[in-house]
Symmetry: C2
Subunit: 361 residues, 2 copies
C-alpha cells in the first residue's frame, strides 16, 4: 500500500480488526458476561456496527456528543460511562437523546444527581443512572462507604439507579491485571450487596478494561466495557496481552531524516504526536513501537517528528522508506484524524470517517 497514501496515515487492518472483535465477543459469551465495548477507542460507526453484529449488547461512550453520533448511526443502547455534570444545554441534549434510544450515565456524587434530576425535568424518567465506584484506580468513582448515600440521593431526586460500574484503570501496568481484576470484582460485589441491602434492585455490575476483561469475574460482573481490544496498541503489546500480529491499527510513516554517525545514530519519522498522541506511562519502553522492528525504540516525540533509535548492529531503514508505527495508546490517535485508511490483504480498500472525533462534550 506504500505509495497509494500519503504519510502519516492511520491504517486499520480490517482482517485483524474482525478477528479481534470476534475473539472478544466469543470470550465474553463463553463467560456469560455481556459485552458493551467502549466506543471512545474507535469513534467509528462501521466498527460499532461490527461490534453489535458480533453480539455486543450496546456501546459505552464517554460523552453526550459521542452518544449522539452512535444514536444517529442506529445504535439504540448507550451507556455514557462518565460522571456527567449536567448544565441546562447538556441536559436538553441528553433528554432529546433519551427520546430515541436507551441511555444511562454515570453518577459519583449526590450533588451531580440532584443537579441532573433538576435539569432533566420530565426526562428524568427516560434515563437510568449507574453509580461509579472506585475499585483502586483513584480517578472518579465513590468509595464503597459512600455508594448507598449517593444512590439514595439519586433515587430521592427521581433518578432510576440501575446498578454500579467501575473502571479498573490500574490494570495498566506490568503484573497489575490479576490484582486489578480481583479488586474490581470485590468492589462491584460489595457495592451491589450494599445497594441490595438498602432496597435497590441492582441489574448492572459493569467493569472491564482491555487488560482485565478476559479476567472478569463472571460471578460478579454482568457486563464488561473493554475498548482498546479492537485495535491493540503498544501498551497491550508491552503488557503481554497481545502479539504484534494482533495489532489492527498502525500509522504508516516515512523516514524523513537519517543519521548514521557513531555517536548520533537515529532515524526520524514524520509520525509525530500529531498522529500518535504522546501518552507515555513510565513502564513503557518508548513513545511508540515499530511493528516490523521490535528492537527499535521511539526515544523522543514532538509534534511532527518521531525519533527512533536502533540497536548497535542493526541496519537503519533507508531515507524515504515507509514504516508501520504502533502507537502506545490507540484511543487518542482516533481523536486526531478525520478518517482512517482501511486495508484488507495488504491493500487499501477504502476509508472510514472517524465520526465521533472531537465530540469532546
Amino acid at each position: 500500500m506504500g505509495d497509494m497514501v500519503g504519510t502519516p496515515t492511520v491504517i486499520v487492518d480490517a482482517d485483524v480488526l474482525d478477528r479481534n472483535i470476534a475473539a472478544m465477543a466469543a470470550a465474553m459469551a463463553a463467560k456469560g458476561v455481556d459485552l458493551r465495548p467502549h466506543a471512545k477507542t474507535h469513534k467509528i460507526v462501521e466498527i460499532a456496527h461490527k461490534q453489535i453484529k458480533a453480539g455486543a449488547v450496546g456501546l459505552s461512550v464517554a460523552t453526550i456528543g459521542e452518544a449522539e453520533v452512535f444514536a444517529d448511526a442506529g445504535i439504540d443502547d448507550l451507556f455514557i460511562a462518565y460522571p456527567l455534570w449536567l448544565t441546562r444545554s447538556s441536559a436538553a441534549r441528553l433528554a432529546a437523546l433519551a427520546e430515541r434510544v436507551d441511555v444511562s450515565f454515570g453518577i459519583d456524587s449526590a450533588a451531580a444527581a440532584v443537579t441532573a434530576a433538576r435539569l432533566l425535568g420530565d426526562a428524568v424518567s427516560r434515563v437510568e443512572v449507574v453509580i461509579e465506584v472506585d475499585s483502586g484506580h483513584h480517578r472518579t468513582g465513590v468509595l464503597i462507604d459512600d455508594v448507598v448515600d449517593v444512590a439514595n440521593a439519586a433515587a430521592d431526586a427521581g433518578l432510576r439507579v440501575s446498578g454500579v460500574f467501575t473502571f479498573p484503570g490500574h490494570s495498566y501496568g506490568p503484573d497489575a491485571q490479576v490484582p486489578a481484576a480481583t479488586q474490581e470484582a470485590t468492589t462491584l460485589r460489595d457495592a451491589a450487596d450494599l445497594l441490595t441491602e438498602a432496597g435497590f434492585r441492582v441489574d448492572v455490575r459493569s467493569g472491564g478494561s482491555t487488560p482485565s476483561a478476559l479476567l472478569s469475574d463472571a460471578d460478579v460482573l454482568t457486563e464488561a466495557r473493554p475498548g482498546v481490544y479492537v485495535f491493540g496498541d503498544a501498551q497491550q503489546w508491552e503488557l503481554g496481552r497481545i502479539e504484534p500480529d494482533d495489532i489492527a491499527l498502525t500509522v504508516l510513516a516515512t523516514v524523513v531524516s537519517r543519521h548514521d554517525g557513531p555517536a548520533n545514530r537515529r532515524i526520524v519519522l514524520d509520525s509525530g504526536s500529531k498522529v500518535l498522541g504522546s501518552d507515555r506511562p513510565g513502564w513503557t519502553t518508548g513513545f511508540a513501537r515499530l511493528r516490523d522492528h521490535p528492537d527499535a525504540r521511539v526515544t523522543a516525540l514532538s509534534e511532527h517528528h518521531a525519533t527512533v533509535e536502533f540497536p548497535k548492529r542493526a541496519a537503519l531503514p533507508a531515507l524515504g522508506s515507509r514504516i508501520r508505527v504502533v502507537p502506545n495508546h490507540v484511543c487518542p490517535v482516533l481523536n486526531l484524524v478525520d478518517d482512517v485508511a482501511v486495508a484488507r490483504g495488504g491493500l487499501v480498500v477504502g476509508r472510514w470517517t472517524v465520526a465521533a472525533r472531537g465530540r469532546n462534550s
Copy 2:
C-alpha cells in the same frame, strides 16, 4: 463566560493574544531580526493575519497541508520548516503551491534533495530550499561537517539553496535557554560561513524557539521562528519565560468529581488529554496547570479526566465549578479541536475555526 459555553472548551483571550503578538514583533524589530512565526502553534487564519499585520515577514509551517491553508488565506510567503521527503503526489501539491506564493522548505540529506528535484520537475525553479542543521537538539538536521555536501547535492540537482535553519529545541528545559541560544548562533554562523566559502550566497540564517527567540544573536540570525509565544503555556510558565497573566489560551473545564477524604483528596476535571494533549517533559511539575490555583497540580491525565491535587490546607473547588486549565504544551491542543472560543474583557465574543487542524501532511 461560565454558562455560555460547554466544557471542555478552548478559550483564547484576544486581548492577551494581541499583546503577545505586539510584544514579540516589537522585540524582534528592535533586534533587527525578521519574525517568521511558526503557525503550527495556532493553525488559525485570523491569528496569522494579526502576525503579518504586526510585521511578520511570512509564516513558518510544518507541512504542505498547513502551507495550503495559509496560502488560501492570502499569506504569500511560507517556509515549510521541515525536511520534506517528497512523493509524486506531495511534489505536485508543492509545485501548485509555488505557482501562487513564495515557498521554501527544509532539506537535511542529499537523497531528499535529489528526490525532491526529480519529482518537482520544472517547478524546481519556483521553490527554494534551506538546509537544516543540528545545533544540539539532535532531532532532524545535518551536522555541521555535512552541510556543504548536502547543499552541493541540492544545487547539483537544480534546487536553489537560500541558506540554513535550525531549531534549538533543547532550549526547552530549566536554565537551558542561554546555552541553546549560544549553540544556535554558533551553528548557524559556522554553517553559513562554510556555505559562503563553498560559493553559496547565504540569505537565510533562521533559528528561534519561543524560549530562545528573545536571546537570538542578531549578528547571526536573519530571522526567528517562535510559535508558542502567541498563547504561552504551562511549559513557558514553568520555564519562567512568562507570567500567568500573559497566557492567552486556557481550557475551560468543569469539576465533575470531588473527593475530600484524608488519604484521597482530589478533584477531577473533564479536560482530559482529548483537549489538553498529554505532553509531559520530565522537568514539568504535572500534566497541566490551573491558572487561578497555582499551587494545584494535575497529577494524572486520561482521555476524559484530569486529576488535580491541592495542598493540604487548600479548599477544593466545588463540584460543577468551572476552572481555567493551562495546557503544558499548547500546540497539540489546537490539533484536537475544530474551533476555539474568542474572549475579550472576559466575554465570549465569537469563535475562530482551527483551519489547519489535522493537516498532518
